[in-house]
Symmetry: C2
Subunit: 387 residues, 2 copies
Amino acid sequence: MDKVRIGIVGVGNMGSSHAGYLHEGGVRGGELAAICDSNPARLEWARQKFGDSVKLFDSVEALLTSGTIDAVLIATPHYDHPRTAIQAFEHGLHVLVEKPAGVYTKQVREMNEAWAKTDRKFGIMYNQRTNPIYQKLREMIASGELGEVRRTNWIITNWYRSQSYYDSGGWRATWEGEGGGVLLNQDPHQLDLWQWTVGMMPVRVRAFCQFGKYRKIEVEDDVTAYVEYENGATGLFVTTTGEAPGTNRFEVTGDRGKIVIEDGKLTFWRLRVPEPEFNSTFTGGFGAPECWKCEVPVKDDNDSQHKKITQNFVDHILKGTPLLAPGEEGIKGLTLSNAMHLSSWTDNWVDLPIDEELYYSNLQERIANSTMNKKSGGKTLSVEGTH
Amino acid sequence: MDKVRIGIVGVGNMGSSHAGYLHEGGVRGGELAAICDSNPARLEWARQKFGDSVKLFDSVEALLTSGTIDAVLIATPHYDHPRTAIQAFEHGLHVLVEKPAGVYTKQVREMNEAWAKTDRKFGIMYNQRTNPIYQKLREMIASGELGEVRRTNWIITNWYRSQSYYDSGGWRATWEGEGGGVLLNQDPHQLDLWQWTVGMMPVRVRAFCQFGKYRKIEVEDDVTAYVEYENGATGLFVTTTGEAPGTNRFEVTGDRGKIVIEDGKLTFWRLRVPEPEFNSTFTGGFGAPECWKCEVPVKDDNDSQHKKITQNFVDHILKGTPLLAPGEEGIKGLTLSNAMHLSSWTDNWVDLPIDEELYYSNLQERIANSTMNKKSGGKTLSVEGTH
């Protein structure tokens, strides 16, 4: 096999972007072979854009049984990700799934289990894992430069979204359509990077979600979450779509200093001796370990992150290159998101792993009681400005 | 009256600093007339330093009835603040009390009530209220520049304290001696400024205090607190003495932008039109209000903040100058601190104003069950490095 024939399921905002770079030959060894969309207008768009070389399908089943593809790139609304991935595995196809992995962990666990039974390859579009700044943070923590992690604090509030954004698609920001708000749509990358960079998941979560605080929506548009890790570290995750200009600042403290990522820069305040060592030998009153402020260089080639993930997925299939974002890890960020909802709904702590049945029944209740009756706008927005 | 004769009660770390600038004539209209301390060594220190012009007392009662002073500056351990202030009011004296106002709100309320029955003047040593950067923030919020406040987020973790610091005094970091840890000793200024700058107190608090996490102490040395305000805004306060180098970053978001105070700079990200106005007129998909990053000049004369508060207190007595830090406002920051303890102890929300009897009984329980048996070191530390 020297080529991976890829079928894209869903050519809305993200899917059409993936189709674009694949069709232009942006991924070595990858070929845009087919497109599937239930919306005739989107298929017509694809026909005009890509011509006859790309096969078009209006049903997933038809695509999967067509024999025209080796792998699917799933870019449908969130709920459909696990279902489509499971079908694809059953048809012997490789799967690259858009984020989030799904809406509730129960369905994502089932997807992971379906994958585990096959020898197929499984990736997730966590394109921010290709971002050198987060790779550097992960490397500095994994290598021990920062020492034992004591605190994580991510303020990620620069997701401004207007009411007109929410009104642009019927599935947006509803329990039935998206299964959540800022946590499901805007934050999947940060929720993943939050655990991926520090290399640990929290053991419990206490979160404060506010639903429809700034916009006429039923899902959360403002969240503050506090977490605790097994090693005693604590963490914060603060996010909203209601603030402008907002902030994107990730601070991680360890017993050898602190790292802050903000404005595209990574700064390391490096203690000359680890804090516990200073503490055990210092005999004065007020005093602290000597600290150096280090500007850590991070190189970015500015190439498309999405393309890099697709390239890595294709290389994984063709050459066995390790996956940067294994599909089965999608459950981690989603677990954090589900736990934040559940903690707010129950106004209590949530231990991890979460009670997936309890989450599922709570979500169903919200879908059943929804009073949102939005017309399905079905407008395809430019993804410029998203990540 | 053209001169205020001041008696200082307690010449430990802070009291000796106050005595120093007062004796040098650093406060116009203020005179260091007397010093009271129960520790003979400290009185001997005062005798050698200030000579015969300053009267020395080894009991508060003797000082208050001596007729040698018009006002007291109370710089004893926290618990004694309200008791001493009440005695002073009863003897017709003006009172300037060190922070925190006390250890539990019940005693501070009683102090405020004792003051309300007199015509005496009452100030609190919230010297950070003289800091031009916080004055500017307060002014920008009060004048509407920032619009309606939506989020406050103070990371104040640069209070590094070693074990040897805690071992330097027997009263330090015990329930009986200080009645708390970082919230009572290091944070009173920030707890005050947090509410003073934005002009509002939270309505409820959910806090996560960790007790003796980094040091062999029984009180809190690590705190994350989430709060909600009446107008729907949320807030965070994160503090510890266990991190180096730590962070001091105060971010306030409003519907006209955000302000960040960090590294001695105040930066205002100013929206050209208020966010709600943009939202109500914008019809596109992804889009946000135009935002200008403004570096707001703040002038600091670097004169002692403590001296400024004492000067303002003296001017208030002599000329009726409005108090920058009225004594009765000390209960606000302490309420926040007590609420954080109580929320952690009860593992639940705490509504404000707090149940002061419940707090008091919980505190007594901790004093009774204390296993700390520290020798009273009684070492007077240089206050360099404190605020």
